[in-house]
């Protein structure tokens, strides 16, 4: 604190610190610094209208706007987390769950809905990154498996939007095994010849990228999304060299042959529907 700050009466200092713009009316684009009107940004699926930077979007919001308006019905809702290890770090796992539920309004990090996409019936799932970093524990694994079962039962394709730091440490080996469980569920879709489209969004790393997210019949990435097995920090610590520009970004993956295409969020409905119609031998609608 400088001598000048010391002589200012404390009341004024406090006032200056608490003064703020009304909650979230305007949002600054982290890529181009443009100041955006929140409602307009949301209408644009959280994509900056100025520079097309893809900001993160909540799972529920994403799904209801990916599916045809009014067509979505959530499934596998009643599945809730247990605490098989009675895990405790600096906080108890149970408390972390409650806090995440409070912040997000969701029960866990994966949401599954059925609905139609431009008339085509399908199941869509999305990770909620704000829920403990979109981490995959038993609930996420079970919900994903039920999504796949629903597809098999009703002969529908599956689309999953991933956004996750990986497996949920607080459930220990149970979490690791969700990688095997979700991969087995996708293997079943493959056997049944039902398409699985994986959309990798920012960020997708760890156990989720090393299981369900890279097993799509098509792997689609969102522009500039961070996608990789290990996080950049871990790699940096391991190899101790500066990482190349754009390393582990969607464009890097496309160049290295890891994803089929990069698709702008605003075009995903049309492009995914078009691919699914061809894979499933459905005619293009007349109009």
């Amino acid at each position: 604190m400088t001598w000048f700050e010391k002589i200012i009466p404390s009341r004024i200092k406090t006032e200056r610190r608490t003064r703020s713009v009304p909650e979230g009316l305007w949002i600054k684009c982290e890529a181009c610094d443009a100041v955006l009107y929140r409602a307009e940004l949301e209408r644009n699926l959280n994509v900056c209208p100025k520079c097309s930077h893809h900001m993160r979007i909540g799972a529920r919001d994403r799904l209801t706007r990916f599916l045809d308006p009014g067509s979505s019905v959530e499934i596998a809702v009643g599945i809730e987390a247990e605490d098989p290890l009675r895990f405790r770090d600096t906080k108890r796992y149970k408390d972390r769950l409650l806090a995440a539920q409070k912040v997000t309004g969701e029960r866990d990090a994966l949401i599954v809905m059925t609905g139609t996409l431009l008339g085509l019936e399908l199941v869509a799932a999305a990770f909620e990154f704000r829920f403990m970093g979109g981490s995959m524990g038993s609930v996420v694994g079970e919900r994903f498996a039920r999504a796949a079962s629903h597809c098999v039962k009703h002969r529908m394709p599956l689309v999953c939007f991933s956004a996750s730091g990986g497996a949920r440490m607080q459930e220990g080996l149970f979490s690791l095994l969700q990688m095997a469980k979700t991969s087995a569920a996708i293997a079943e879709l493959g056997r049944e010849k039902l398409p699985f489209i994986s959309v990798l969004t920012d960020p997708t790393t760890g156990g989720v990228s090393a299981s369900l997210a890279t097993l799509g019949d098509l792997n689609i990435a969102e522009p500039r999304a961070l996608i990789g097995f290990a996080g950049p920090r871990v790699i940096h610590q391991t190899v101790r060299e500066t990482l190349p520009e754009g390393f582990q970004r969607a464009e890097f993956l496309l160049e290295h042959g890891a994803v089929d295409m990069i698709v702008d969020r605003r075009e995903q409905r049309e492009r995914i529907a078009a691919v699914l119609r061809m894979l499933m031998h459905v005619a293009t609608p007349a109009n």
């Binding site: 600096t90 694994g141 440490m169 080996l173």
Partner: protein
């Protein structure tokens, strides 16, 4: 013999040093020295028993990583009567962190796949400390497919700190290499028996660990992340690794209680590295028994049971 004692084994190390000193003196024909040596041996054994009956998770993790712990290729000549090592993923390279090939287990041909760490510095570097790159997992998958074609049961030995996180790994899509193995192993139409012989490090372990029967050696560990990694993320300090090891429940005993492991193979007193021959004998008998049982099952039963097993992973409430 230098057993390379761990810190919690220091009292045993001191006793053993005393015994060794005495045994040099022993040739001078004094009868009571032999007696004294025997007494100390007994004491050392009792002490080892008492220390090993009460190990913490972190101590077990240290044993699992013991520099003298037997690795896959140490077990191979003790478990199998024949082994032909096969190399390469046919696409990019041969990854020395994973070894494999057809082997004969009590007369029955099987496909062996295992992680391989190095013993000395040079070999450690060559084997990348047992951390496979994508080509390692793709070699493993190639061998599994070969096993499927010729109907050889697959035996995998797990011992890795984890899949290697590097620039090349990312360029060649480490995620996909691991995920593809999980996908293919879910429906591979031959029995798969896996055993964690040392470190079961996360996805890097699971990528050759989807199986019909999971075994663990008594002092091996299997976890979603290393105790150091868990501690540095959740406690913001790698020093809390002991707490993390305990909290994650990574030991064979704990995982067996959670019904995640089918069989725990007991180790000789003091750990597998003290008596590798005894360890190998126990492992051989456990593996061949498990393989035998699975080979007697009709294929559709085997695959249905595996699918059910994979589907049932996880603990949750269903309202």
């Amino acid at each position: 013999m230098d057993l390379n004692f761990l810190d919690f084994e220091q009292p045993i190390a001191e006793l053993e040093a005393k015994i060794e000193q005495l045994s040099y003196v022993g040739n001078d024909a004094e009868v009571n020295i032999a007696e004294e040596i025997n007494r100390l041996r007994m004491k050392s054994r009792t002490l080892t028993k008492s220390i090993f009956s009460n190990l913490t998770s972190w101590q077990i993790a240290q044993l699992a990583r013991h520099p003298q712990r037997p690795y896959t290729l140490d077990y191979v000549p003790l478990l199998f009567t024949e082994f032909q090592e096969l190399h390469g993923d046919r696409m990019y390279a041969d990854d020395a962190a994973i070894v494999g090939g057809p082997a004969r287990l009590e007369g029955r041909p099987v496909m062996l796949i295992g992680h391989q760490k190095g013993r000395d510095t040079k070999e450690r570097v060559r084997r990348n400390y047992g951390m496979p790159k994508p080509e390692g997992y793709r070699k493993a998958l190639r061998l599994m497919k070969l096993a499927e074609r010729y109907r050889l049961p697959v035996v995998t030995l797990i011992d890795t700190p984890g899949a290697y996180p590097g620039v090349g790994s990312e360029e060649r899509n480490q995620s996909e290499a691991i995920a593809r193995n999980l996908y293919e192993m879910a429906t591979l139409s031959v029995p798969i028996v896996s055993c964690v012989i040392g470190e079961g490090g996360s996805g890097g372990a699971l990528a050759i660990g989807v199986c019909d029967q999971l075994l663990m050696l008594q002092y091996s560990v299997y976890s979603v992340i290393s105790p150091e990694g868990c501690a540095s993320i959740l406690w913001k300090s790698a020093d809390k690794r002991e707490l993390a090891a305990e909290a994650m429940g990574m030991t064979a005993e704990r995982l067996a209680k959670l019904s995640l492991v089918d069989e725990v193979v007991p180790e000789p007193l003091g750990g597998a590295h003290r008596e590798p021959l005894v360890m190998a004998e126990r492992l051989r008998s456990a593996l061949s028994r498990q393989v035998e049982v699975l080979c007697n099952q009709p294929l559709d039963t085997l695959l249905a049971t595996r699918a059910q097993r994979l589907r049932s992973f996880g603990v949750y409430r269903d309202a």
